[in-house]
Symmetry: C2
Subunit: 248 residues, 2 copies
């Protein structure tokens, strides 16, 4: 048995998220279909995490196993020939048998693109940005400082599979230039993210940028450890999974 890691890019617009679902079009579903066709038997793939419906990826990590005698298959080429054009294998590497895309991950980086301070959203960008109106970056960056570090992020977790701990360490929240002056890219890196955590953090930062929540109140929201205390979730389509980091 040989284990391979794939890096995937996808446009989340027409996917019902990463995770396999019986009736819906998902990235995992499309990938397993292509892989099973190549290998001639049902083959499971594991993702570093589930991206929500509409969320994009530039660097989703995936692993799968195949029999030793199939290991010479040129996976990237073979899979890209079968996959629909809104998902691409961008890299492939053999990994040790004990490597696991989810459990071996050291950190993840997401980017969220905002469109702001403009009375219309450019149609060509609309699938990849949240048109959030007028915001004040200085207020958002002050609020971001309250979130960086090790905290209990229960207030920023949506209901899902029960988990042991809601404590995570955010090492970076930073703003970067977008494609136009009306766009900004917000980068989030942490040792892990709870369900919809980036979208919940972004929703909170935008409320700060609108002057409706003060940066100081963000510390109070964190302390409450209660989702109902935090602002609404930002839309899925502004978000992209950029990178998953491993020690190897």
């Amino acid at each position: 048995m040989i284990r391979f890691k794939l890096i995937l890019a996808y446009d989340g617009t027409d996917f019902c998220g990463w995770q396999l679902q019986p009736a819906d079009r998902t990235v995992q579903g499309e990938l397993e279909k292509a892989l099973s066709k190549i290998l001639g038997e049902p083959t499971r793939v594991y993702g570093s995490g589930r991206t929500d419906a509409g969320v994009h990826a530039m660097g989703q990590a995936v692993h799968f196993d195949c029999a030793d005698d199939r290991s010479a298959i040129p996976w990237q080429k073979a899979l890209n020939a079968l996959l629909p054009r809104d998902v691409r294998v961008v890299d492939c590497a053999q990994v040790p048998d004990d490597f696991h895309v989810q459990y071996s991950a050291l950190s993840k980086t997401y980017e969220y693109v905002l469109w702001h301070n403009r009375n219309f959203c450019l149609p060509q960008h609309r699938r990849y940005v949240w048109d959030c109106g007028s915001v004040d970056f200085a207020l958002m960056e002050q609020a971001a400082q309250k979130l960086i570090g090790e905290h209990d992020f229960a207030s920023f977790q949506n209901v899902g599979t029960p988990i042991k701990s809601t404590v995570r360490t955010i090492t970076d929240i930073s703003r970067h230039p977008g494609r136009t002056e009306f766009e900004s890219v917000w980068r989030f890196t942490a040792n892990g993210f709870l369900k919809q955590m980036v979208r919940n953090l972004m929703g909170c930062l935008v409320e700060c940028g609108r002057g409706r929540v003060t940066p100081d109140a963000v510390a109070t929201i964190l302390d409450a450890a209660d989702r109902s205390q935090a602002p609404a979730t930002a839309p899925a389509h502004g978000l992209s999974l950029i990178r998953v980091d491993y020690s190897l």
Copy 2:
């Protein structure tokens, strides 16, 4: 009667081009529907030119007339509230009665985005680029020099409505950086373009970049004044109408 000029941006992906068609979704059709609703009567709009199905725009120019007593309507806001999200009014100005978006135009600028030298196309960019494989920019730029200036571009015109002259003057063909190292933006400015002329020029330049047509052969193709002598038309979805220039 008051005449207004609108500047439109649209994502051409889901449109059957600019021009009104009885059964298909077109930009002109959507705009006339919205405008007629606001004005309470069928209203015609005129475009600076017809963009093909799949071609995008950042700066398509349009004009329409309305009665004097309706001239205070905030057109941009009113139209954007009614238009689908893949077309937006980005600017609006009153113009003289004798202004005509097509006949008053001094020049037009298009951009064509190529994706190259990479074994996959990023899904998020796929609607806006032509994945053309491996190309040599130096050869393409040498070929572009043969096209700049006043020429009979009959070899680069697809069949359509008969026109008086196929002579046009190209003032600029230049390459600009794309969003990634695998993209380049090719800008074309001329006093006017024939039917599918930019796509035909781009198709020819890419064949030069692939080494299949020499830059010198481009002069011969021009001289032939025969469409069948030139390489195939580049796909629509890499192209955007960027700007139409007027003296006012």
